[in-house]
Each structure stands twice: as C-alpha cells, then as structure tokens.
C-alpha cells in the first residue's frame, strides 16, 4: 500500500470511523436503557401502592412509600425463604464446581475409552424435553428418600447443568497452552495435581460464568421445590412469589417488591464475582 493511498484511506476511514463510533455509542446506550427498564419498573413498583401501580404505569412514583417493601417482606416470610434459596442455589453451585470442571478437563486433555460417546451423550442431554422429565424426577426423589430435603431439588439441577458446563469448560481447558501441561508432567505431577494446580486456577472466568448462570437458574427454580415439599417453611423465594400472584386480587406492588427482593442477592453475587473475571485477552497467561 503506497503512502498516498494509505493517507487517503485513513482520512476517509477516520470520518466514517467517527460516525460509526457515534452511532455505536447511541445504539449501546439505547440497549442499555432497554436492558435496565424492567428492573427500574420493579423498583418503582415496590415503592408504590397497588392502586398506583395499576393507574400510573410510568416509573416515577407519585408518593413513594416503603410500606410496600415492609409488607412484602412479612408477607413472603423473606428471611426463611431466603435461607432456603441460599441452600438450594449454594449447594447446586458447589456441586457443579466440583463435578463438571473435572469432567471438562478429562474431555479436553485426557484420553480414555468411550470418550466420544460420553461427550455426545452429555451434549445430547441438552435437548431432553424438560416438560416430561418433571414427574420421573419426583418419583425418583421419592424412591431415593429425598423428598422434603434440599437434595430433591439440588441433584436434578446439578444434573441439568451438565451439558452447558461440560461444553464450556472443555472449550476453555482446550485453549490452555499445552506447554504448561507438559512442564507439569516433566515435574512429576499427577493428573489430578495438574488439574488442580494449573488448569483449575487458570479457568477463573469460565468457572465464574458457570457459577453465575447456574446460580440464577437454581435461584429461580420454583416447580421442583413446590412438588417435592409439603412444608411451606422449606420453600425457596420463587414459590413465595407465586403465592403472591395467586391471591384472588393480586397486589401488584407486592409482586414487584417481591421480585425485587428476589433479584437483589443475585445482582450482589454478580457484582462481587465479576471483579475476578479476567479482563482483556489471554496475554496474561504466561509462565
């Protein structure tokens, strides 16, 4: 490319570049608003009375009140349900982080018989129709004596997380430079040692992604807990929300408030975890 042509292209491209840049910023801003507004609606709804929620649909409450939040906290029995939700989501994520990185590592790095078949099965399991799996899960839970315990919900959730977790972790582990692996082998590390000391710590981003995705899914699960429990004090938060929705006359302000209370812990988790998310490209993975 001659310097003259280079110069012309660069002026033209700079102008178009700037225009595109402005449009891009505008588009991102609009999409940010679109992403946030239901959340804003929820916040504003929790500060309104039921009548105002029905008559004033715009996000600014006329007479903001904290009464709704207080009433909802009590109506939901928030502390009890919160603990139940934490148990279910926490146990699920813990198990997922123990079981699936191991499998992902094996699929990515090791060789063993039936490797392709097993992987295909896990991927295929992604498409199993969820609707017809519900009853057999409850039957299985009952036969294993798990009804009424958090495990009745946790184990199916963990199993359901398998396809995506394994695919993602395998992809991530495959991209770790193989030299690290070889160096560890030369150092006399056992397979598990290599996994635990090298691969696991390096995959922070993937682990965080898996944790966040599955925590949200487990947190929002409401069918299984309702079906496997008869004791209302064991219900997680979404079941409590469902009860608010089935009053004869729904108190929409309480529904908004309950939804907000349910969502806040997840947002807190996301904000905390994503600080550990590695930024930028893989340049930092050296040595």
């Amino acid at each position: 490319m001659s310097t003259m042509e280079g110069a012309k292209t660069s002026i033209a491209s700079r102008i178009t570049g700037r225009l595109v840049g402005v449009l891009a910023i505008a588009a991102f801003a609009v999409y940010a608003v679109v992403s946030v507004f239901p959340f804003v609606t929820m916040i504003s709804g929790s500060l309104k009375t039921n009548t105002e929620v029905l008559t004033n649909p715009w996000p600014i409450p006329v007479n903001p009140t904290f009464d709704t939040l207080v009433d909802t906290w009590n109506a939901l029995d928030f502390p009890t349900l919160l603990v139940n939700s934490l148990i279910i989501a926490g146990l699920s994520c813990l198990l997922i982080l123990v079981i699936f990185p191991l499998a992902g590592y094996a699929f990515a790095v090791l060789e063993f018989p039936f490797k392709r078949v097993l992987f295909a099965i896990f991927v295929g399991a992604l498409f199993v129709p969820g609707v017809t799996v519900l009853l057999p899960i409850v039957i299985l839970d009952q036969q294993l004596g798990l009804l009424g315990t958090p495990w009745a919900v946790v184990l199916p959730i963990v199993n359901g997380a398998a396809p995506i977790a394994i695919i993602l972790l395998r992809a991530y582990f495959s991209s770790v430079p193989f030299e690290l692996h070889e160096a560890a082998v030369l150092d006399g590390c056992s397979p598990f040692g290599i996994y635990w000391r090298i691969y696991f710590p390096l995959s922070r981003s993937a682990l965080i992604t898996v944790t966040v995705l599955n925590f949200v899914a487990a947190w929002n699960e409401y069918v299984l807990p309702a079906l496997t429990n008869d004791d209302a004090s064991r219900y997680p938060l979404p079941v409590g929300l469902q009860a608010l929705l089935s009053s004869n006359v729904v108190q929409w302000n309480q529904v908004m408030a309950a939804s907000l209370l349910i969502v806040v812990p997840i947002i807190v988790l996301f904000v905390v975890l994503q600080r550990y998310f590695i930024n930028g490209l893989q340049g930092s993975v050296k040595g």
Binding site: L54, T55, V83, N84, I87, G90, L91, L94, L134, L135, V138, I139, Q142, L147, G148, T149, P150, W151, P201, V223, A226, L227, D230, D231, A232, S233, R234, Q242, A243, L245, S246, S247, N248, V249, V250
Partner: protein, 455 residues
C-alpha cells in the same frame, strides 16, 4: 494451600447447613391432622376458618395448603399420587376434574354417605349437576386419557361447596348515566344491551367499552356466547349443534345468526381487550376503564377487593335476543368447586364430617363471608351481609325448564380439546380477523373432526 483451606471451610459450612436443613423440624404433635389441599389462594383463609371451627368440635387440626396455578396443582396431585403423599381432602373443579380423579382411582365414591338429608341443603340444581350422567360417561369415549367408563351414572364423587354461574354482566351506573343510558333498569334483551353499549362507547371510547379476560379465550365462549346462543337456538338446537349429528350445523343460517349477534360486540370491546387476563379485565372495570364487565358470580370478590362502590354497580344476566327462541332466560347456580376425599386418606370418616360441616348452613355462611363468593348450600339472604353478594343471589334462578341454561353442562361435547379450539376460533370476531360466515364454516369443520377422532 490457602485456597484449599478456604474450600474445605466452605464445604464444611455448607455441609453443616444442609444437614441442619435436611433434618426434619418439629416434634410429634399430639393432635391428629386433617390435610386439605386447594388451588385457590383466596379460599385458604375461608377453608381454614371453617376448618378451625370444625376442628375445635372434633379434636382435630385442619391444615390447608395451596398450590397454584392450576397446572402446578394438577402436577402436585399427580406426583403425590405416585409418591403416596396425597392429603385427606382435595379441592377439585366440579363437573369434570372430580370425575377424572375418580376414574383414576384417586378419590372416593361418596354416593353412600351423600344421603337425602345432606342433599337437601343445596341450592336447586346443584345436586343434579354434581351427579354424573350416563350421557357424560358415554360421550367421554374410550380414549384412555379422557374416558370415564368405570364410573356409575348417578353417583357422587365429590361434594360441591362453591357455586356460581358465569354469564353475569356488571355495569357501572355512573358511566351509563353519563351516556344517557337508564341505569336503573337492566337491559332485558340483547339488542337493548348492544344499544346501551353503543351509547357508552360513543360517549367515551376510552372508558365506555366492554371487557372480559379474552387472553383466556374460554371467557368469550363460556361466559358470553353460549348463554346468548342457547337462548337464540333453544335447548334442542343448541345441544344438537355440538352433537355428533351436528344438527343444525354450525354453518347453518340460524347458527351463523348467533355468530352475527356476537359480532355486534366487535366494535364495542375496550381497546386491548385481547391481551387482558381475567383479573386484569376486572381491574380495568374497577378503575373505570370500561363500563361493562362480563364475568360471573365469582367476579364479585375481585370487585369488592378493588373497593368498587356497590351502589354504583348494577348486575344482570346476559340478556337473550328478541329474535331467538327463548325470550326470558335464567341461570341456575352450577357447582364450581367441590371437596373430595382421597382413597389413601387415613381419616376418611373425619374428612366426610368436615365436608358435611363445610356445606351446612353455618359452615357455608362462614365460608361465603370470608371468601366473598357464592356457596353451593342454600344460605338465606339474611345470613349474608355483602350487598353485591345479595344482588348476585337474586340473579340465581330458582326455576327449571327450558328457560334455564346450565352453563357448565358440557355433556354434549366430544372429548378432547374442542372447547379450547372453539374458544380460540371465536376470538377471531373480536380480533376482526374473520366473518361470522367464515367462522361458522371453521366451527363446523372443527366439530366434525373432533367427533371423527373419537370413533
């Protein structure tokens, strides 16, 4: 190293918490428990009140649990049936759900205990409607998912405690007056009603319209169209149209005439009605965004909770057309929700006793005032305090004969999804995506196919 220690600590913490959580709470209670399941949140308080009253006499504790929405309730029963954890008493929708559960062997046949004395306490027509008829058994066909062939005609598999009728119109007097419509006398004919609605819509299109929860298409079919069509066609033609002979057929002139009458409503619906749920429609009416609301006796509790001024509301049944076969029509109460006793219950006699109390005058009055709904038992008006409830009781007929329409009598229908499909087709008229003639043809095809599938 530090990380593994942290990990170990985390795991231990979780293990402890989960172990604590998994341990069952509560020691043994000295009282026996009668467990009751329902699917309506609004009934919980009422059932619990009745349960407490009954329980104190019988030294038992009644525990009411609710599982909503309806699909979750069905799944809960299904999984409990498999797991053996069914309760003692189940709330079921009358005239259908109870029979399905009885066929599956989940609930008990109550015919022997449901004696003449007990039967006498109910509103007229309730007991007849609650018993299964031979026609219904025959029409259910052989399809294993919907057959009822193991049941016996004339038997009772549940006891109704909540009654009502759809096809009730609520009107806001102040909006009518503003449009120059006489709100003191309700319209006695379909044509008169359409005229009044046209006036309110012309006066203010934003608030003068008609609402019902059309996002659930069955509301249009069950609450509005069927009562009007029954009055127009007369009893034989109305049931004959849905039968296997389809005489008259859905696309015959008289049938299409009913669709044309329904189409007269198309310009009168409130904006956005097709996306309104049942509660939303009631809310819209309560806030004054609509002048007319079609619902049933069950709409009462919604409206009361919304704080509508009872003196501003007038109530009347869906009026018949002047051009039809029946000129005056009445709606007897139908059983809506019944209580059933499960076969696996260990307290079957106590369960029956509870149901007996629930449907006694004393229990029913308590239930009605707490739930703000119409009980299946004949409770004297003096026992009721709510003014709207009194108005509704007046809508319920005490006569029988051709002039009464049983809204929940679907005995003529073929089994399968035909009612839902017909409801969806009917929404073509409010959506203005079909004509009455075209719709008549589609309905005719639908019913022909539905009956053919049963053979």
């Amino acid at each position: 190293m530090q990380r593994s220690l942290k990990a170990v600590a985390l795991v231990t913490a979780f293990a402890t918490v989960s172990a604590l959580a998994a341990c069952s709470t509560g020691g043994a209670s000295s009282e026996e428990v009668l467990s009751v399941w329902t699917f309506k949140q609004s009934e919980v308080e009422a059932l619990q009140a009745v349960g407490d009253a009954w329980g104190s006499e019988n030294e038992m504790k009644v525990e009411v649990s609710v599982y909503t929405p309806d699909d979750a309730y069905a799944t809960k029963i299904q999984s409990a049936a498999k797991a053996g954890t069914l309760p003692d008493v189940l709330s079921v929708h009358s005239q259908g759900e109870d029979w399905k559960l009885a066929q599956a062997g989940i609930i008990k046949d109550l015919t022997d205990v449901f004696d003449a004395d007990w039967q006498g306490q109910f509103l007229p027509g309730i007991v007849d409607a609650a018993a299964i008829t031979q026609t219904q058994i025959d029409n259910s066909g052989d399809d294993p998912t919907s057959t009822l062939k193991d049941l016996e005609a004339g038997n009772f598999y549940s006891v109704p405690f909540l009654a009502g009728t759809p096809g009730v119109v609520f009107a806001r007097k102040s909006l009518l007056e503003a449009a120059g419509v006489d709100s003191a006398t309700p319209p006695t004919s379909w044509e008169e009603w359409v005229e009044s609605m046209t006036a309110t819509v012309e006066n203010d299109p934003a608030t003068g319209g008609l609402v019902t929860g059309l996002s659930v298409p069955e509301t249009g079919l069950f609450w509005l169209y069927r009562p009007m069509a029954y009055a127009y066609l007369g009893k034989d033609a109305f049931y004959g149209r849905d039968s296997v002979d389809q005489s008259p057929s859905w696309d015959s002139a008289e049938s299409v005439e009913t669709l044309k009458l329904y189409d007269q409503l198309s310009p009168l619906w409130a904006p956005g009605v097709l996306s309104l749920g049942i509660d939303q429609a009631d809310q819209a009416f309560a806030d004054g965004s609509a002048a007319w609301d079609v619902g049933g006796t069950f709409t009462l509790s919604s409206l009361t909770t919304f704080g509508v001024d009872a003196s501003d509301i007038s109530v009347f049944p869906v009026p018949p057309s002047t051009t039809g076969k029946i000129q005056t029509i009445a709606y007897p109460a139908s059983p809506l929700i019944s209580g059933a006793v499960t076969n696996t219950s260990k307290h079957q006699d106590e369960a029956v006793s509870f149901l007996k109390y629930l449907t006694s005058v004393e229990g029913a009055a308590l239930f009605a005032s707490t739930a703000l709904d119409l009980p299946a038992t004949a409770v004297p008006e003096s026992a009721l305090t709510d003014p709207l409830l009194k108005q509704l009781v007046a809508v319920i007929a005490t006569t029988s004969g051709d002039e009464t329409f049983a809204p929940n009598d679907f005995s003529a229908q073929p089994a399968g999804t035909v009612l839902h499909d017909a409801s969806v087709l009917l929404t073509n008229l409010p959506a203005k995506t079909d004509t009455p003639d075209g719709l008549g043809r589609s309905m005719s095809e639908l019913y022909t196919a539905a009956w053919a599938a049963i053979k």
